[in-house]
Amino acid sequence: MSEELHQVAVQVNGKHCERRVESRLLLSDFLRHDLGLTGTHVGCEHGVCGACTVLMDGLPVRSCLMLAAQTNGHAIETVESLTNDRDKLHPLQQAFHEAHGLQCGFCTPGILMTMMAFLKETASPSEAEIREALSGNLCRCTGYQKIVEAVTLAARRIGQAGAR
């Protein structure tokens, strides 16, 4: 076990955070326990299910496979960054709501963050591209069909908004 503490300075959802953390502290535990950002869920702790996906400098990472100490000097975004207002969802969240792209909702934050990065890269994705991009995130409730529909809907709306 390691007792060594590291100073971490990290932007989380646009806010500057400084903490001293143990070497072995996972990023997922840092976000959930130290910062109280419990929207990020932990499904497997071995990097397979994707539930804990967050963005680091805009790119998706599995927060259960990263140490908090590794985020020093970086910017992290979690599901809590998508909106501050429950009544005003981000277009991606709104599309998941309308298309019934979630059931128990446990895997959803990780899927949303994965799709945020994907849609930035791929403006009008095909169904095959969406499925490929989703394939690193496990969902046990939906059978994925309505998630695919939600992402398709979101891509169209975000594309239209960008075109205006």
Binding site: M1, R32, L37, G39, G105, C107, G143
Partner: protein
Amino acid sequence: MTAEPRYLGARVTRNEDARLLTGRALFVDDVNPPHLLHAAFLRSPHAHARIKRIDTGAALKRDGVAAVYTAADLGSYWKPGPLLVPPPPIKGIAFNLRAQVPLAKDKVRHVGEPVALVIARSRYIAEDAAADIAVDYETLPAVVDMERGAAGGPVVHDDLGSNIASRVRQTKGDYAAAARNAHAVIRRRLVYDRGASVSMETRGVVAEWDAKADKLTVWDTTQGPVFIRGGLAAMLGLSERQVRVVAPFIGGGFGPKMMMFYPEEVVIPWVAIRLGRPVKWIEDRLEHFFATTQERGQIHDAEIALDKNGKILGVKDEFLYDTGAYNPYGLTLPINSQCTLLGGYVVPSYDSSFTGVFTNKPIVTPYRGAGRQHGVFVMERLLDIAARELEIDRAEIRRRNFIPSGAFPYNNEIIFQDFAPLEYDSGNYAPVLNKTLKMIGYDRFLADEQPKLRALGKHVGIGVVFYIEGTGIGPYEGARVQVQASGKVSVATGVGTQGQGHFTSFAQIVADQVGVDVRDVDVVTGDTDQFYWGAGTFASRGAVVAGNAVNEAGKAVRKKILRAAAEHFECAEQDIVVAGGQASIAGVPGKTIKLGELALRANPMRGAVKPGTEPGLEATSYFGPPSGATACGAHAMIVEVDPETMTIAIKKYVVVHDCGTVINPLILEGQIQGGVAQGIGNAFYEQLHFDDQGQLLNASLADYLVPTALDVPRMELGHECTPSPLNPLGIKGAGEAGAIPVGALFAQALEDALDLPRRGVEILEIPLSPNRLWELAGALFKQRGTS
């Protein structure tokens, strides 16, 4: 005046989504009371061993450790768990209960069984300290194979003297005579192996003892909070009013979260009281593969007797059922298998017996489908083989044997899991099958497409299977509906919810009854302080049983609104219209009162009320159906197999389903699609591989393959509606349906794709996989060009 239902049957998007989508929904692991301690369990690395000695000294010395417990430390609190479901009243039944224990005492009986518990400042330290505990084990030969376990050799429970957990025989008619008079008798051995439910959220428990309030609060990922409350109160010597169990948002249940009492559920609250500090335990994914219950190990020796036209004369089935190390869930699973096997067919005689076998493997309890898969697999495979041997079309042999639509209620004579005779309340099967065949293009595929594809060297096949599902069993559920002074309506019920959309479907039912916007109905589920009574979410019963309770309570509140409004306006109740959150006199402008205002008036602070007046616009109702409602459906698929790799591509997947009245088609589609995805995993990707020592070889999500978005196809859904006469809303359950017939479908479609029967190979087992398919049939395709 009763308005037309506005929400029932509508595609209403879900009320609960915003909380879940913004990361603000409370899951058990999000509960973090001040001064929280964390628990880690030390689990057995052996499937079968005697515990000689446990040394916790080093663990206790570790900085940050608050306590370490073994079975000996639990004192009189240590007791085997209760029997959850007693055996049904079947003549000659044998059932040997051996229930799980809070911490293993003298012997461990499966890998992952908890042996000791560490409580520490953080989970990290608790796990360090668990690794400090030294346990001396004397390993014993493990009972892994249920056939060998049933025959003799080592025993899982020494006092029992054998591994026989149960024996049950149920019969209908005279099978022996049917077989004697049959044109054909077809006999096969059919095997279904183990899988895991793998909810994305693992299990977890947080317990907090408030010494000043003298009250225990437990947040638990359970599907049955009311029973957990009652059981914990009894075990801990508390009044039920001192125990609050909350099942908040649950990240998928699928059955194993209905099992109770898991050792962790028993021990964590006890520790929290003892230490006077809140304690949290969250299962990690590795633990989930051992410590959460599993399903599906059965071996069937089945035969079917038919006349020359393919009419079923009788079925005989003997099966072995793997219960795992303990059997607290009684006989629900094998009885579901036994009953579901009869399917939607006229089976004049049936002789079915099963033997439950203890093994040194994780406990078996219901997982989505709950034994129904096996019955459907056996019957559908037998019919496929019969069709082939009698040269009858696969769909036609099913059609010839369907229970006719005029024959309902249809009594199948044997006893079902709810202890009642297996009686199908209603059904109309032929239209379901016919619609399925039409949607998949069955005739065209067989006559036209398949020959062309085969000529091109492609291996494409079709499958079509039919199933029925006993759903919505009792005993009962209840609900309380209350109009608040704000005009919002609150609904509370005892069932837990794990993603099925109850916050919306129950709101739809109430919104129609009470005349408010569906967004103004707040549903609370799974909090025993909000609703005291209930059984839980299992057996596809939430919408049927709790949904009807909600409807009855909604009706009662509506009556109170009419009475209150009529008194207010001094008019007749018939003249009152309730809609848009207010009560009005029909056709009289200006004569309206908001429901919130009526609710406030119904709880006066001063003055006198008429005798017998109840305060508020509130009602509590209960609903218990006389027996389960029988849903049905058919699945069809066109699949292509690459014979070099035995990987598959599903070209088309069709589901036609009849679950009676549909509350919300959007939610129903999601339930079916998710069920099919789980069924596909079960049929072709997921299998728990144990070695001969009882070690699970693929206990990670990297090795146990849950289907991804690339593996689950787009599905086309069709619906028929035969309302159940057993409840006022006409609902039948739908939660498990999608998963049930998929194994049978895969076996048939893959056989057809590879043209296996003609080559002397039959698929008689599930799960399959590319590897397994290669083992079964690869030799036929080894040389390119010979296929």
